[in-house]
Symmetry: C2
Subunit: 577 residues, 2 copies
């Protein structure tokens, strides 16, 4: 492609409303433009990368034996009523009425449509397993769309749905999809992790998320230093402390802690470590049969944080997890949130396993401005229910017993689920088995955020000058920058020659033949993030060389003109995408 | 692809609600399934063809220098208010409100979005001309969606928009797009015509439609036997009759024509040819300044039909063309529609050029049950306004003076427009010219119905056994049918070997390895329409041959196993799409 005939829509200024680096760089590099909140046009430069991501996904899905289909974006309400999600799905479902007043939505996902299709098309176990995917535009009406295409309302997604006679077959396809996703992310050239995840609202028995690692990621993901164990922090189990709880040494005493409302403040006042304290959180209990609900106390070691997913998955705790208000706490306990403790507490208490292992600890006295020291379980406070309540922390032992845990930030770009029979039961999707018996199919579903991958790749790969694309998903693999070609026919000719040579070798080449100053061209090519750059100049040609610089390289180097192609093949063996 | 691992969803029965052959065959061949009125899922077999169409379009658009973008499907109302179309566009615009109550639509077209983008991105004549295209899902909320993907509500379209400093530049890109469309339809392997067309509601100064010829087409298209002239019948001009009008011979007489309400009936009763009669149609006149509107009479030769587009484009005639009701006619003229005539008619009269050339003709007497014979213009009825009002008929002289006209049926699958400055003026899309002066850009737009092409190809190419795909857009180019392979390892092995050989040569091959009876397999491959078929059987292999049959061939032929590939290369040189 010749830059003079291409929309190079780079910008110097960082756009004011772009909060994260990928959003800023996608706007500045001329990859996207905002049409309205959460709605983006992909400019030519951005679309090239999007299409490369899409192509890799499609090739690997095809290789796995999945069959591509294309379902409508607009879906009739009837199917969503059948699955129960027309009412369950909240404000993110963009609903509309057609000219005849019938209800439709712009599909955020396609479980209903594919289940309806397959219950009509597949009737025998002989046709199973089968896995269908599409690369399709979806819509989620986010309350606060932001971060550019990272959390847009309209986005491009690869979604796949598999159908099975039994759980064993589902497990096989699930593992195949796990391997396929790894192959996809390997080909992207991104640093990623597959982690165990909570199945959440989609339902099902198991799921894994695929995260692109980036310090700006919104998720904490956890790995073992000594094994393959990896999980979203929401899902990561803690290991129960080993050994028995130390015996009490101190007597329980009430101490004044006026105006000390946080664990840190109390620890400092008392001159102890936060690990010797507990904090007590009051949350809504699960509703009784008559609909009324009280409170439940959750007790954690002072330095630990509550894992909300673990808590709301517990029997007796309301889902979604709802913290008690200050008023509810005052009414139930008679003090403010900062002074609650498990001693003589008149609500059910659930204690985290680490907190349950403490002796001679400090906690709130259930009296405003006072704490208790030297508190011991059993002796001073009953220990009726002990559970895993907290988030793991760095250095915790791995749940598989091998190594300790590290925590990194990740951006979720893929999620695979064993759905089981949630949708197939609701929609009566059955086949006849070997014995002619009608059985409900098992299902899996496999999502991959195609447009989100583009943003995540940038979050992971950038510097102060702009984007640093991995070769496989760069809009162009190679930039050829000609200097003052409008004044020098030699330079123009050498640029054209190199352009043709590299293109014919299968590279995606951008020839920057614009009548711009060299500094402007260099800055644009760096901002756009093209992995390999050759500069064609009169001075270089006089010496028979081109100047080469890899986007990640600190230094430039001279390459003889005749060596340019073999040099590039060596620097970027993955050619001709 | 192995058929045993592929969704071959063929059906024997013709679906009851499918009115046209392409809709029937797409359902029967397992290409599409209906989700709801006008909403179709593309099954794997159908999607393969859709993607090939899409790919050819993309390759030729890229070759033309157009740049691919991707705009959102969901568009904010504000832009449509700016162009004036939020209120003008009727019930086909699917409107919706997001969770914050803001108005959006599911875009049926993208003039507003692209004009908004380009007015922000392009500021100088140096960046012009520029042509941007996308292949994107669109929605038109048809009142009566039908004919499958031929007139679906959700459909896939290639739309392109070009921007220019002046009309000359627009003309150049328009001609380039015309050539590009010809290249695209040539590659599809379809019989098509580019014809002059009316610009209609999109506006602009010139347009051409691209029609796939098929007897089931909804449009009449007109060509000259002696030149390149081709036009939609809506647009095709008639040539004014040559010579002067014959002088009157007969006297005007009133004759009783009781109960003769049609031209045919009157002609028969009077023993004359319909070419000697005129018919008079009353339509609504253009509204006056005070909003009131009367009627206008349109007079045509009895054997001619009214061209509604020509009529409504005339000054003085209401647009859209609206026929007067029987009540309005009785009130204005005092008789029923079948008895109107131009003699002493008390509304303005517009006479078609052929009707104006008649002498001694027959017309209604403006009196119930009576006609006039021997009527002559000027003498009996004023001839104040003569226009081109009628559709051309076969045998008419070509408007360019070369040859006569033929009429064929066509399916409109592409439409290119010189938009001029309609949208750029409404939305103030300007650039600075060479002199630093702000000028409104000129625009062109170029649509191609990607999903519609699939249906149109079938309307043109089918027989009683099913679809007959052109090689370039067939879901698979070659079928290999193995007979009783589950019982014969020799056949299974030979089938696999041929499959690998043809695939490696770049062909899209479907190996029908299903455990089905030969008759079922043959019928499916014919129904699906795969252009080339090899049969692998024990008997054939014993003689060292495969059986070959082209989908259009009447006869099968034996081909030595070793000759299969060169034979296929000869039969289908366009390989490796």
């Amino acid at each position: 492609m010749r830059a003079s005939r291409y929309l190079i829509a780079t910008q110097k200024e960082t756009p004011a409303d772009a909060e994260i680096i990928s959003h800023q760089l996608m706007l500045r590099a001329g990859m996207i433009r905002k049409l309205a909140a959460g709605l983006y046009t992909w400019l030519p430069m951005g679309l090239r990368t999007l299409r490369k991501v899409e192509r890799i996904v499609r090739e690997e899905m095809d290789k796995s034996g999945a069959q591509e289909v294309l379902m409508p974006a607009v879906q009739p309400a009837e199917l969503w009523e059948e699955s129960g999600r027309w009412t369950q799905y909240g404000g993110e479902l963009l609903r509309m009425k057609d000219r005849h007043g019938r209800d439709f939505c712009f599909g955020p996902t396609h479980e209903e449509v594919i289940t309806d299709l397959i219950r009509n098309e597949i009737s025998s176990y002989k046709e199973l397993p089968a896995n269908f995917y599409q690369v399709q535009t979806k819509f989620r009406d986010e309350r606060r769309p932001r971060f550019g295409v990272m959390r847009a309302r309209e986005f491009l997604m690869k979604d796949a749905y598999s159908f099975h006679l039994n759980a064993e077959s589902l497990n096989e396809t699930y593992e195949l999809m796990h391997r396929t996703y790894c192959a996809i992310f390997d080909r992207f050239g991104l640093d990623y992790r597959a982690v165990q995840a909570d199945s959440g609202a989609i339902g099902g028995s198991a799921s894994h998320e695929f995260h692109v690692l980036a310090s700006s990621g919104e998720d904490d993901i956890v790995f073992s230093t000594g094994s393959d164990y990896a999980a979203n922090i929401e899902k990561a189990e803690t290991v129960a402390p080993s050994g028995t709880r130390p015996a009490p040494v101190e007597e329980m005493k009430e101490v004044a802690t006026p105006d000390q409302k946080t664990i840190d403040a109390v620890s400092q006042l008392l001159g102890i470590d936060a690990t010797r304290t507990v904090k007590t959180l009051l949350v809504k209990a699960e509703a009784d049969e008559d609909g009324s609900s009280g409170l439940v106390a959750l007790v954690l070691r002072g330095d630990h944080t509550l894992n909300e997913i673990k808590a709301e998955n517990l029997a007796g705790v309301a889902e979604p997890l709802t913290m008690a208000t200050d008023e509810e706490i005052e009414q139930a306990v008679g003090c403010k949130p900062g002074s609650i403790g498990p001693v003589n507490l008149n609500v059910p208490v659930i204690v985290d396993r680490s907190a349950a292992h403490l002796a001679d600890f400090v906690c709130g006295a259930n009296r405003e401005g006072f704490h208790l020291t030297g508190v011991n379980w059993e002796r001073d406070a009953a220990l009726e229910r002990v559970e895993d309540l907290r988030n793991v922390v760095e250095g915790d032992p791995s749940p598989d017993g091998k190594g300790t845990l590290e925590i990194r930030r990740g951006i979720e770009v893929g999620h695979i689920f064993k759905l089981g029979n949630k949708y197939s039961t609701a929609m009566n999707a059955t086949v006849l088995d070997e014995n002619g018996k009608t059985v409900i199919m098992d299902m899996g579903c496999y999502g991959l955020g195609v447009s989100r991958v583009v943003a995540a790749a940038i979050e992971q790969n950038h510097d102060e000058n702009g984007i640093i694309w991995p070769d496989a998903i760069a809009p162009f693999q190679v930039a050829i920058v000609t200097l003052n070609a409008h004044k020098s026919p030699t330079v123009a000719e050498a640029g054209e020659k190199l352009y043709e040579q590299l293109r014919q070798a299968g590279y995606d080449v951008l020839l920057d033949d614009r009548k711009e100053r060299p500094g402007v061209k260099f800055a644009d090519m760096e901002l756009i993030g093209i992995p390999h750059r050759f500069v064609v100049s009169e001075r270089g040609l006089a010496a028979g060389t081109l100047e080469y610089k890899g986007r990640k390289d600190a230094e430039k180097q001279d390459v003889p003109v005749a060596e340019a192609l073999p040099f590039l093949v060596n620097a970027s063996p993955r050619k001709g995408l």
